[in-house]
C-alpha cells in the first residue's frame, strides 16, 4: 500500500527551543545566508518557530508554533508551477524537483504558509563547514525554490532498506530530522494511511486543527492544542 506521510505538531508540548530548526539546517544542507542577506529577507528556514504573545504586560504568555511545509493535498503551490517542478509525489509529499525548477517563484507566492524559500544566490560554505554537509541531500543551486521535504532522503533510504530486508516499515522507525531532534516529542511523523500509526491517531485527536484550514488546501500537518471546549477528564 502506498504511504501517505503526515505530521502532528503538539503545540502544548512545544517549548520553542528551535532544536528542530537547527536539526533541519544540518540535515538538509540549508545555506545560512549571512547577516547582510538575512536582513534583505533571504534567510531560509524550512521549519520556523513562530512566536505569538497572549495577554497584556506583565501577564504575558508566549505561544510557539513550528511552521513547516504542510504537504497539502490540494496544495496551491503545485498547480501554478508551469514545469511540474512542484507536484504531488506518489507518497503524498509536496515534491519540489530542483532540476526542473526554473525559478518563477509563483509557488512561493501561492503558498499561504510562506514555507517556500528561494536560492537568490549560489550557496557556499566556508571551510571547514563544507565538511559537515549531508552527502545524501542535494545542494540547491541559484534560482531554485526549495522547501521542507519531510527528509525525503531518509524516506528513500528507509524504503530501500525495508525492501532489501523484505519487511514492512515500523511506525516510528522513520523520522525526519526535526522530529528526531525534538526533545519534547512535539513533532510526530508517520504514515497517515496506517490507521494504527501514532501520527494517524493524533491527526484524529479532538485537539487537532489544521493551519489556515478554511482556505481548503487540505494540509497533512495537524496542530494539536488544548481546545476551549475540550476537557480531558471527560474521557
Amino acid at each position: 500500500m502506498a504511504y501517505r506521510w503526515g505530521m502532528a505538531v503538539d503545540l502544548d508540548r512545544c517549548t520553542g527551543c528551535e532544536a528542530c530548526v537547527t536539526a533541519c539546517h544540518a540535515e538538509n544542507n540549508i545555506p545560512t545566508v549571512g547577516a547582510g542577506q538575512a536582513a534583505r529577507g533571504r534567510a531560509m528556514h524550512w521549519i520556523r518557530v513562530e512566536r505569538y504573545y497572549e495577554g497584556d504586560f506583565p501577564d504575558v504568555r508566549v505561544k510557539f508554533r513550528p511552521v513547516l511545509c504542510q504537504h497539502c493535498d490540494a496544495a496551491p503551490c503545485e498547480a501554478v508551477c508551469p514545469t511540474y517542478a512542484s507536484h504531488q509525489s506518489e507518497d503524498g509529499l509536496n515534491a519540489q524537483v530542483y532540476n526542473r525548477c526554473i525559478g518563477t517563484r509563483y509557488c512561493g507566492n501561492a503558498c499561504m504558509y510562506n514555507v517556500r524559500f528561494f536560492n537568490f544566490f549560489n550557496p557556499e560554505w566556508e571551510k571547514p563547514l563544507n565538511l559537515q554537509l549531508n552527502p545524501d541531500v542535494s545542494i540547491r543551486s541559484v534560482g531554485v525554490m526549495e522547501k521542507c521535504t519531510f527528509c525525503v532522503q531518509r524516506i528513500k533510504a528507509a524504503k530501500v532498506l525495508i525492501k532489501s530486508e523484505n519487511r514492512d516499515l515500523k511506525d516510528g522507525e522513520l523520522q525526519p530530522a526535526c522530529a528526531q531532534a525534538c526533545p519534547t516529542t512535539a513533532l510526530v511523523f508517520g504514515d497517515l494511511n496506517d490507521p494504527e500509526s501514532r501520527v494517524a491517531r493524533l491527526s484524529h485527536s479532538p485537539r487537532g486543527t489544521k493551519l489556515l484550514e478554511d482556505l481548503g488546501a487540505e494540509p497533512k500537518v495537524t496542530y494539536l492544542q488544548k481546545q476551549a471546549w475540550y476537557e480531558p477528564d471527560a474521557h
Partner: protein
C-alpha cells in the same frame, strides 16, 4: 478630395524615410545607450544570481512583474483599438491605426521579456514551451504561466500580422519611390505587391477576419495576465473581478500611451495635417470613458473587500488605504481619476496638450496600480509572522528604464523605416463614397 492631392499626401508621409534629422540620431543614441545599460544589468543579474534584485521572501514578485503587467497592458492600445475601430468602420481611425498597432507589437515584445528576466534560471526559460524533449515532460497546462505563454504568443503573432499585412501596399509604394539598396530591401518586404483588385480584396477580407479574431484574443491576454494573480489564494488577489478589471486597465493605459506617441509623432515628423485635434479629441473621450470604468472597478473591488471584512484581506486593504503604501495609492487615484476627469470631461480642456497631460498621469497611475496589486498583497499574506517588505534595487530600476528606452528606440526606428501613417488607408479615406458609383452598373 481632389485626386491631385494624393501625391503630396504620399510625399508627406514618406518624407521621414528619406530625410533624417539630427534629432533622430540623438534619440537613437541616447535610447540605445540606456537599452545597452539595461542589457548589461540583466547580464549582471544572470551571472550573479537574481538576488541582486530586490525581490525577497515573501515578496517573490517585484518590479519585474509590475513592468510585465504594465507593458502587456500598454500593448492593448493598438491592435485592440484598431480592430474595434476597423470593425465599426470609424473613419477617423485611418491615421491612428498604424501608430497604435506598432505600440502593441513593441510593448508585447518588451512585456514578454519580463517573465524571462524575472526567472531564477532564465537559461531554462524554454521549458515553458511545449516541445517534445528527452525528458519526456511537457509544460503543466494547469499553470497560469503556461496560459500566459499561449495567450501572449497568439496575441503577438496576430498583432505582428495585423501590423504587417496592411503595411505591404505602403512598402510597395516606398519601393517604387526609392532606388538602390532601399529599393531592393523594400522590394523584398513588399512581397512583390502590385495592387491588383484581387490582392486588395483578399487583403481587406483578411483584415476583416483578423479584426474579428484579434479582439477576443486581446481580451483573453489581459484576463490571463490577471489570472496570474487571481488564481492564487493571496489576499486581495483571489477575486473574480480581476479579469475585466485588468482588461479595462490595460485599454486605459494603452490609450494613454497611444495619445502620447501620437503627440510626439505629430511634432517630430510634422504630421499636424494628418494627426488632427479631432483624433486627440476622440481618443480623449475614449480615455475618459476608461477612466470612469477604471474608477468603477476600483470602487467595486475595494467596497467588496471592505464590506467582507476578512482579516487577511483587511491587512492588505489598510496597508494600501492608509498604511505604508497609502502614498502610492492616493497618487494613483489622483493620476488615474482626479486629474483626467476634469481635463477630459470639460470640452474646452480636451485639447492636444490636455490629452497629453492626462495621458502622462494615467501612465504613472496605471504603473502604480500594478505595483499596488502585486507588492502589498504578497507582503501581507495570511500568517502575520511572515509579513515582509520590498524595495527595488538598482538592477531592477536600470532594466525598467531600459524598457522605456527600448520602446522609444524601436518606435523611432520604425517610424524612420516605415510610413507611420498608412498611406493607402488615408487615400481610401479621402474619397467619399459616391452613391452613384456604388453597386453594379455595368
Amino acid at each position: 478630395m481632389n485626386r491631385t492631392l494624393t501625391k503630396p499626401l504620399a510625399d508627406d508621409l514618406v518624407r521621414p524615410l528619406f530625410h533624417t534629422s539630427v534629432w533622430f540620431y540623438a534619440i537613437v543614441l541616447t535610447a540605445g545607450t540606456v537599452v545597452a545599460c539595461g542589457a548589461a544589468a540583466w547580464a549582471f543579474q544572470v551571472w550573479n544570481g537574481i538576488g541582486v534584485a530586490g525581490i525577497r521572501w515573501p515578496v517573490f514578485w517585484g518590479f519585474y512583474l509590475v513592468n510585465f503587467v504594465f507593458w502587456i497592458g500598454i500593448s492593448h492600445a493598438g491592435t485592440l483599438i484598431s480592430a474595434i475601430l476597423r470593425l465599426v468602420d470609424a473613419q477617423w481611425r485611418r491615421p491612428v491605426t498604424r501608430c497604435a498597432e506598432v505600440i502593441t507589437v513593441f510593448a508585447l515584445m518588451i512585456g514578454a521579456m519580463f517573465p524571462i528576466i524575472h526567472l531564477g534560471r532564465p537559461w531554462l526559460a524554454f521549458w515553458l514551451f511545449p516541445y517534445p524533449s528527452s525528458r519526456e515532460i511537457w509544460p503543466n497546462f494547469r499553470s497560469p504561466l503556461a496560459w500566459d505563454f499561449f495567450a501572449i504568443n497568439t496575441y503577438l503573432t496576430g498583432s505582428v500580422l495585423f501590423l504587417f499585412l496592411p503595411m505591404i501596399p505602403d512598402l510597395a509604394l516606398v519601393r517604387d519611390r526609392s532606388t538602390g539598396w532601399r529599393r531592393r530591401v523594400y522590394g523584398f518586404l513588399a512581397f512583390g505587391w502590385r495592387g491588383t483588385t484581387t490582392q486588395w480584396n483578399r487583403l481587406e477580407s483578411a483584415m476583416q477576419i483578423m479584426a474579428v479574431a484579434i479582439i477576443p484574443v486581446a481580451v483573453s491576454v489581459h484576463t490571463i495576465v490577471s489570472f496570474d494573480f487571481s488564481m492564487a489564494t493571496v489576499p486581495m488577489w483571489h477575486s473574480t473581478i480581476f479579469g475585466p478589471y485588468f482588461v479595462a486597465g490595460a485599454i486605459f493605459s494603452g490609450i494613454a500611451a497611444l495619445i502620447i506617441a501620437m503627440a510626439v509623432l505629430r511634432k517630430t515628423l510634422r504630421l499636424e495635417a494628418y494627426l488632427q485635434p479631432i483624433h486627440f479629441e476622440n481618443l480623449g473621450k475614449l480615455l475618459l470613458l476608461m477612466s470612469l470604468l477604471w474608477a468603477y472597478f476600483v470602487f467595486a473591488e475595494r467596497l467588496t473587500v471592505w464590506y467582507g471584512n476578512e482579516p487577511s484581506e483587511m491587512a492588505v486593504f489598510w496597508a494600501t488605504q492608509r498604511g505604508e503604501y497609502a502614498v502610492f495609492y492616493w497618487t494613483m487615484v489622483v493620476c488615474n481619476f482626479v486629474i483626467p476627469l476634469p481635463i477630459l470631461g470639460i470640452r474646452r480642456l480636451r485639447t492636444i496638450t490636455g490629452c497629453v497631460i492626462a495621458s502622462l498621469g494615467v501612465l504613472v497611475g496605471m504603473w502604480l496600480e500594478r505595483f499596488l496589486i502585486i507588492v502589498p498583497s504578497l507582503a501581507h499574506k495570511q500568517l502575520p509572522y511572515s509579513w515582509g517588505t520590498y524595495e527595488p534595487r538598482p538592477v531592477e530600476l536600470t532594466i525598467m528604464a531600459a524598457t522605456f528606452a527600448a520602446m522609444i528606440l524601436l518606435y523611432a526606428l520604425f517610424s524612420k523605416f516605415v510610413p507611420i501613417i498608412s498611406i493607402w488607408e488615408m487615400r481610401a479615406g479621402d474619397r467619399p463614397a459616391t452613391p452613384s458609383a456604388t453597386g453594379d452598373h455595368s
